[in-house]
Symmetry: D2
Subunit: 139 residues, 4 copies
């Protein structure tokens, strides 16, 4: 049984590599960011265009690097929301080699629900709760 | 008739965007670099692993930005070698929106054939000439 | 006599390096972009804050890579405007090792004077011409 | 009393910004990476040149984003080693606006002491322990 309802392919670029010949640790945050936005679009929570309407800001990131990621690896990122707080959403991620299922990275980010129009945090709207609860199968 | 024998898909990332909400001009060089290495691998000229055996160094880049590239666009890069010099190779590229064929960027790079083992330029080997001539249909 | 009236220091980062152990060719565009914005701020043409009021878009880039740039090198970028067109500005740049004056990169970019408010090119305003002519010592 | 014995200036680049007009969360890992390598060089633990002799690999990262970082802010990163394990080193970091002392980011990384020659973790050598203990004032 897959651990995530949502997976998104990530293309490893030469430009992601560092002098140690593997993907740089900072670029791995770019990979999970890409997965997060694809997840929001898949659930109809963001249109992929208006960046002022992207209602979240990163508050906290925790990443465990389990294995280096190399150029040419077919990679995908699993994404889920694991917790809906009053004004925040917790995301979990796994980067894995698609063909083997080898997990390269596990990560968790806490996103504050935030308005770039008013520059203030706001409560997670009920519509978001409903859509996420349904998608993730929360009771 | 397609203008290139070789095309490679490019995934536009949120991380490629800048405050102007389109892909940053520097990241477009990363896109064409990605296409260049995919081309070399497709022709069997590089194994995609040993970066000391990647026998070229960028000498000159010319990029014409025709249209901005946006998040969510399905993009591909066309790559070809247009000229084989004594110690250099000239590459041409086009970034285009796959679904519409709209060309976003045209670019040309001059690559010096170079050994990272000896840190010196070296002549383009005959085997490379043969493979490229055949692939590009040069007389 | 220095070739540029304006120089700006660039901090080479580990994150700018690629598997070949020198600064990646795409990051060098980021260096000259940094110099360009510092130049505009120095001349009072941009406040450094409102990115919708940054009135230019990159149309064309030409870069000559003369020598690799390494981690730990003290680097600076020389910037000047070499030509003011009706609706465009041509910038010239040199990246050089500050302590030795060794030139690593020469570049030229054509910037279209552009409004991010109306998404259209506009003529270079007279006030800009006056300020630039004075700073660069044009007749 | 400063919280860190070691601080290193970070130049915020336009290229670090994302569509939300602040420094992208992934680039902040690049900032602390830059601080970490500067710290190692300052203590004489790395020569800044041979990347195969850089004896650590990132195992775990935890970042708390307290305030957004904007273009033009004068920034510095405080770095210290807070714990020396058998085969690992824990680093702590703070990014702060130099002029105001406002802390933008707190971070911790666990680095496995690692040989890129043998591709295996190795015990932290006694010489490293001695130098770090002295510099950080550990008993």
């Amino acid at each position: 049984m897959p651990k995530f309802n949502f997976y998104f392919p990530i293309q490893v670029r030469y430009g992601d590599l560092d002098p140690q010949w593997h993907v740089n640790n900072a670029h791995i945050l770019t990979f999970i960011e890409q997965g997060r936005f694809a997840y929001l679009q898949a659930l109809g929570l963001w249109n992929g265009k208006s960046f002022l309407d992207l209602p979240m800001i990163v508050a906290d990131v925790h990443v465990s690097y389990l294995a280096p990621i190399f150029f040419g690896q077919d990679l995908r990122v699993g994404v889920r929301i694991s917790r809906i707080g009053t004004k925040s959403l917790t995301f979990e991620y796994e980067l894995e080699v698609t063909s083997t299922g080898q997990v390269s990275t596990r990560a968790e980010t806490v996103m504050v629900y935030y308005s770039y129009h008013t520059h203030a945090s706001v409560p997670v709207p009920d519509e978001w709760r409903k859509i996420i609860n349904e998608y993730e199968g929360f009771a």
